[in-house]
């Protein structure tokens, strides 16, 4: 394994607090949320694992119980929540077999909300973001109560901007704030 200090971009002379801060920054950077349905999600996950292991190793080296922070764990592949008809399409998109998914979707006569959602996911994986947004919007319009579709659509509207390194922030309103506001507004609207 690589030197855990190098992995975290820290040095052995750093204090526990500094190490923790660097660890947190890296977790934010490679968080699965930043790589949701992204073709590179597996690499980000590996990176995440490496960072967690490095952090644990440093904690152990410094002979402190790692009870307070056992590292972040998360899985990025989304669970299949849809109908049986499209289960194969979902797993094909998850595994990156886009040609197969596209073939099945194109030949399906049942163009319901889920079909639009999956077309959106497929376009997203290809990098066709404009098309993806249109399909997601259609899915939300057809089935406004479905959280999965709404989340996907909301992610398009904030352009997946969850992470920015320190010093590279935009001026003006933070997109996270907008997102939080939207979630709050959403919570208020539902009766």
């Amino acid at each position: 394994m690589n030197d855990p200090y190098v992995v975290l971009g820290a040095s052995p002379s750093d204090s526990d607090e500094e190490i923790k801060k660097k660890y947190r920054d890296l977790v934010k950077k490679y968080h699965p949320d930043n790589y949701n349905n992204n073709p590179l999600a597996d690499l980000a996950q590996e990176k995440m694992k490496e960072i967690n292991e490095a952090y644990d190793a440093i904690q152990k080296m410094r002979e402190r119980g790692s009870s307070d922070n056992s590292g972040y764990s998360g899985s990025s592949s989304y669970k299949s929540r849809g109908s049986a008809e499209f289960a194969g399409v979902r797993s094909a998109i998850n595994s990156g077999d886009l040609a197969y998914a596209e073939r099945i979707l194109e030949s399906s006569a049942n163009r319901n909300a889920e079909w639009n959602f999956l077309m959106g996911s497929l376009c997203y994986r290809k990098g066709w973001l404009d098309e993806a947004q249109r399909y997601f919007r259609r899915a939300v319009n057809m089935e406004p109560s479905n959280m999965e579709y709404r989340q996907a659509y909301a992610r398009m509207q904030n352009a997946d901007s969850t992470y920015r390194p320190a010093g590279y922030q935009h001026h003006g309103i933070d997109l996270c704030d907008i997102c939080t506001m939207m979630i709050c507004a959403d919570a208020c609207c539902r009766c």
């Binding site: 992204n38 073709p39 590179l40 690499l43 290809k126 066709w128 992470y163 590279y168």
Partner: protein, 291 residues
Amino acid sequence: MFGYIRPARGELRVKEFELYKSCYCGLCRTLGKLYGPAARMVLQYDFTFLAMLLWEGGKKPVLCAKRCMASPCKKHCEASGDDSMAAAAGYSVILAWWKICDTIHDEGFFRSVFARGAKLWIRRAYRKAAKQYPEFDARVRESMNELFHLEKVGENRLDRMADAFAKILAYCAESRSGDEKRILEQLLYHVGRWIYIVDAVDDLEKDRKNGQYNPVDRRFALNGKSLSEEDKAYLEITLAHSQNLAAAAFELLKENCWSEILRNILYLGMTQVSGQVLSGTFRHERDGLPR
């Protein structure tokens, strides 16, 4: 179609700006050395970005001060020391050639006098580059044909058009392998998509005047009208999205000596340029970058 991928000058540290200039000058020198002085004409910021991106991990650039035609009195720092410079030079010559061919085709015989002159001017350079990178050349030719065909049938899906162009850029990662290749392909694909859309917005006015196909015009069914504020906001989001996906891919790459400048370009420079293009001020801004 080129010149949009540039750093935000105001946010670069002095040291980084000097390094950026040295890379720009180094690429110019490489173009001249490999493809003759005529090829220096195709020098672009975008390929400086590519040279920095493809630069191999731990290597430090060799910097030396030299004079050149553009500044015969004052010496400038030039970076060299990695194959990425040669690759970026070769790709830029090939792309410039096909871009010129495309312009000639669009403009017709009389209006394309300059483009035809330029074509003649870089023909030798192109032949040499095409021999060195035959697969890349074939790929660009294929994509250009595809774009031409799609324009003719009046394709209205913006992504379909951008896809053909983005694939060219993604192919610049051909020399890499494994995970690094996957990351670079995804990064370059989204940079390519971003360039294509920004260029389409930038050309909207010109294309309308000349009665030429414009993908953004088709997508929003403008028919001669200007982009509404709503359409602009929408484009801004989809551009930021590509930018974010490119940046997310970038963070998975190993750091190299240009990483800070690349971060500036990906997080700030692109945002600045897309904002300027959408507000119509891009052509009037002076950003103090080397020319």
